[in-house]
């Protein structure tokens, strides 16, 4: 590759990176979501809530999900912090231990980690939902 051509490619790459960075500059949370979770892939987990930690910097749902055999697997599912969830109608008492919920989530990028981030959540018994009207983890 000739030097001028290489320079053009690097310059173009720099310009593209600048543009690519702009859309993600608005929100910044406790950690980088895209680096933590594979946000381009979703998994669906239906299980029973065993804990709901409504807190900062992130809320967590602990979910017991049937493993397809005779047992369950516990998933730790990350949600938004308290201020964001409150503004979207989710309070400390919204989820109760024993609730059965269906969660669509982005899985962790690390193999062997039963951890995910909420994309949407539905509680069938009363129709509670989150994420279906554009809500996103903040």
């Amino acid at each position: 590759m000739t030097a001028p051509k290489f320079a053009r490619i690097v310059s173009a790459a720099l310009a593209a990176l600048t543009v690519a960075i702009l859309p993600v500059s608005i929100a910044e949370a406790h950690h980088s979501y895209a680096a933590t979770f594979d946000v381009d892939h979703h998994i669906t987990l239906k299980g029973t809530v065993t804990q709901f930690g409504f807190r900062n910097p992130h809320s967590y749902i602990q979910l017991e999900v049937p493993d397809g055999k005779s047992g369950t697997v516990r998933w730790s599912i990350e949600w938004s912090g308290t201020a964001s969830l409150t503004s979207q109608g989710i309070e400390r008492g919204t989820l109760r231990v024993g609730d059965v919920v269906k969660v669509v989530a982005s899985p962790s990028r690390v193999k062997g980690e039963m951890r995910a981030q909420v994309v949407s959540l539905v509680r069938e018994k009363d129709g509670l939902s989150w994420g279906l009207k554009g809500e996103k983890v903040d």
């Binding site: 990176l17 608005i26 910044e28 680096a35 910097p57 602990q62 962790s108």
Partner: protein, 664 residues
């Protein structure tokens, strides 16, 4: 061209000209003197010449904030090979673990984190001079920076998220130099820092704008300092909030709370994910390196030879200062009754007080005299220091009547401090038991009664250790020749042992950590002082010095580190609270220990994977898989990365499933 000047056209009076010149000279001299004497300067020129006031609420200019960098996009990041490997294998998921969830943003990132910045100042109440600034960000602890010329602490003092900062004015720019940081990150999602980086900041105010330029110098992971600048706008109607944080040991789903998220080398496939979409971007620039930060790179690529500025920080020196081997004993007060003594590179823990001294590990034999002298001085200082009299007459508390004891405090020698009563050996290594004989003989523990002479022999301090320590000392080289006072007098064999009485007002508990550095390791917890002395399971200057022949294993070390984490409590945001005295290195806390545990687990997992694949020890050594930690923990010639790798390899099972603590 005619120069116009005041008085032009008026006939000049030579005498008046001389007077004017003389007055100008006098004024110039006076002004020069005034500039040289700060007090005069302020008096003469007032606020106009004072540095700009930085105090107030500042909002971040979002248009400059790069926010979340793309995963694996390292363009311009001045990595060295270790830094790139550390970034590639770091998992952002670590922030979901109990030990990380409440950590603040790392210092290099704090200015860029959301929420703006608040700057407060300290004033000297006598002179109203500004003696310090405090910086606060949304997710941070208060960060003090001192302008009173105080020195930076020694290398064996603890590190914190905010570090230790001092500052001075250079013109209208405040220059801050900060050391003693904990490990952290440069950017989200990858680039990490070691715990020996330093940061120099330049804060310049231009009316309503504040420019902050940060220069992060971390030779462990960077080929040259990392430079970033950020602009803020003064906004008195804004307010930096404090973000609360709650954490519990949730564990990561089906895994263990001890699971350490990380990517094995080559496992992080997400690094070039974005390049799939942007497939016209060449990979090479995105891998970073100092050269990619320079314009020359645009022309010549990796063949460019820009004038790279190497680090001003010596890694070797910084690490040596954490554990000085200078033949001296340095004393660092820790918390409650407890002091850390750094004796020629080995840490000794001392509880000093009216019960007498309790000493954890005794240092090497050749340091015994100096260690004993230091403990004796410390005991005298704590329990028998001569103080000015503060009591007269029968009102004196604790005195039965008109007081001669108060007089005696001034006119007579104070009572001697109580001697060493207990010694605890955390293992049988020479630098932990070498001083036993001298210290035990100088001490006193009444086994039979209240006299220090029993059966014609002088009673010595009690020496406590796990029974395997005594076995190894007796059966080791020269064991037969060891005098009785050099050996543990009181051994235990259960998983813990409590000192049978309070020592200096608190319970002291010893825990056995099986198959860790050896088969006889103990840690010691001071329950009221909130201090743990770890012995060699934890070191801030070396990899764990696993003695395989003495029964040590990598899994035992990790179990021991996890146990210590279990019984620590951070004061706030994974910092302070329970203080941890390592076998070697600087005073630490749970945040430091978690980072060290993570490093050990990461290396464990890498070597286990290779062993699972049937790789020989030679192949594992050739893979150089400790590269990203070697500059930080592998410089000690007595315990090299190869020795550590071999110890890990030999004590791991032939095959194991997944990473340690991962869901199966």
């Amino acid at each position: 061209m005619v120069h116009a000047s005041f008085g032009a056209g008026i006939p000049r009076n030579p005498t008046r000209g001389f007077v004017r010149r003389a007055l100008l000279c006098a004024f110039a001299i006076a002004f020069g003197v005034a500039l040289a004497v700060p007090g005069w300067t302020q008096a003469l020129v007032g606020r106009d010449r004072a540095p700009p006031d930085l105090m107030g609420e500042w909002t971040l200019h979002d248009d400059e904030d790069p926010g979340q960098p793309l995963l694996g996009q390292y363009l311009g990041m001045p990595f060295n090979v270790a830094g790139r490997m550390r970034a590639d294998t770091s998992a952002e998921s670590i922030w979901g673990t109990a030990e990380y969830r409440c950590r603040p943003h790392s210092a290099p990132h704090s200015w860029r984190g959301v929420g703006g910045a608040r700057i407060l100042k300290d004033l000297d109440p006598l002179t109203r001079d500004v003696t310090g600034y405090h910086f606060q960000y949304w997710r941070s602890l208060d960060r003090p920076v001192y302008l009173d010329n105080r020195p930076h602490p020694p290398g064996y003092a603890p590190h914190s998220w905010a570090g230790f900062g001092t500052a001075e004015w250079q013109g209208d720019t405040l220059v801050i130099k900060t050391t003693h940081f904990k490990d952290g990150f440069l950017q989200r999602g990858g680039p990490q820092t070691s715990d020996i980086y330093t940061m120099t900041e330049y804060l310049t105010r231009h009316d309503e704008y504040l420019t902050v330029t940060q220069i992060v110098d971390d030779p462990v992971y960077l080929d040259e300092p990392y430079v970033v600048s950020t602009t803020f706008e003064y906004e008195p109607n804004s307010a930096v909030q404090m973000e609360s944080c709650v954490t519990t040991a949730l564990g990561d789903g089906g895994g263990s709370p001890y699971f350490v998220p990380h990517f094995l080398p080559g496992e992080n496939t997400a690094l070039q994910e974005w390049l799939v979409k942007e497939n016209w971007v060449p990979v090479e620039p995105t891998r970073g390196g100092a050269v990619t930060a320079y314009p020359e790179y645009q022309v010549s690529g990796k063949n460019a030879k820009p004038p790279i500025s190497r680090s001003a920080v010596s890694v070797q020196k910084a690490i040596e200062e954490q554990s000085p081997r200078d033949g001296e004993v340095h004393v660092l007060p820790v918390q409650g009754n407890v002091y850390m003594l750094v004796a020629d590179g080995t840490n000794i823990t001392v509880s000093a007080g009216k019960s007498g001294a309790l000493v954890v590990d005794t240092g090497s034999r050749n340091m015994s005299a100096k260690v004993l002298a230091a403990i004796t001085r410390l005991q005298a200082q704590v329990t028998a220091a001569v103080r000015p009299n503060d009591c007269n007459g029968s009102e004196c508390i604790g005195q039965p009547s008109w007081a001669s004891p108060a007089m005696n405090a001034i006119i007579a020698s104070p009572a001697p401090a109580r001697p060493i009563r207990f010694i605890i050996n955390t293992d049988a290594s020479p630098d932990h038991v070498g001083g036993n004989e001298v210290l035990a003989k100088a001490g006193y523990f009444a086994r039979k009664g209240g006299t220090n002479v029993e059966n014609g022999a002088v009673a010595t301090a009690a020496v406590i250790a796990h029974e395997n320590v005594l076995t190894r000392m007796q059966n080791g080289p020269g064991g037969d020749a060891l005098p009785l006072e050099a050996l543990p007098s009181d051994t235990y064999s259960w998983k813990f042992n409590k000192i049978s009485e309070y020592v200096n007002g608190e319970g002291v508990e010893i825990f056995y950590e099986p198959k860790a550095i050896s088969d006889g390791d103990s840690i010691v917890q001071f329950r009221r002082s909130e201090v743990i002395s770890t012995g060699n399971i934890f070191s801030t200057v070396t990899y764990p010095m696993i003695d395989v022949k003495a029964g040590g294993t990598i899994d035992g070390v990790i179990d021991g580190l996890n146990h210590i984490l279990d019984i620590t409590a951070a004061e706030y945001r994974s910092q302070g609270g329970t203080w941890i005295i390592p076998g070697r290195g600087r005073l630490s806390d749970a945040g430091d220990l978690a980072s060290y545990r993570n490093m050990v687990v990461i290396i464990h997992d890498r070597i286990q994977k290779l062993k699972n694949e049937g790789k020989t020890l030679a192949q594992v050594l050739a893979a150089n898989i400790t590269l990203d930690f070697d500059v930080r923990y592998g410089l000690d010639k007595s315990w090299t990365p190869a020795q550590f790798t071999e110890a890990v390899y030999r004590t791991l099972p032939a095959a194991a499933r997944g990473k340690k603590g991962a869901a199966q």
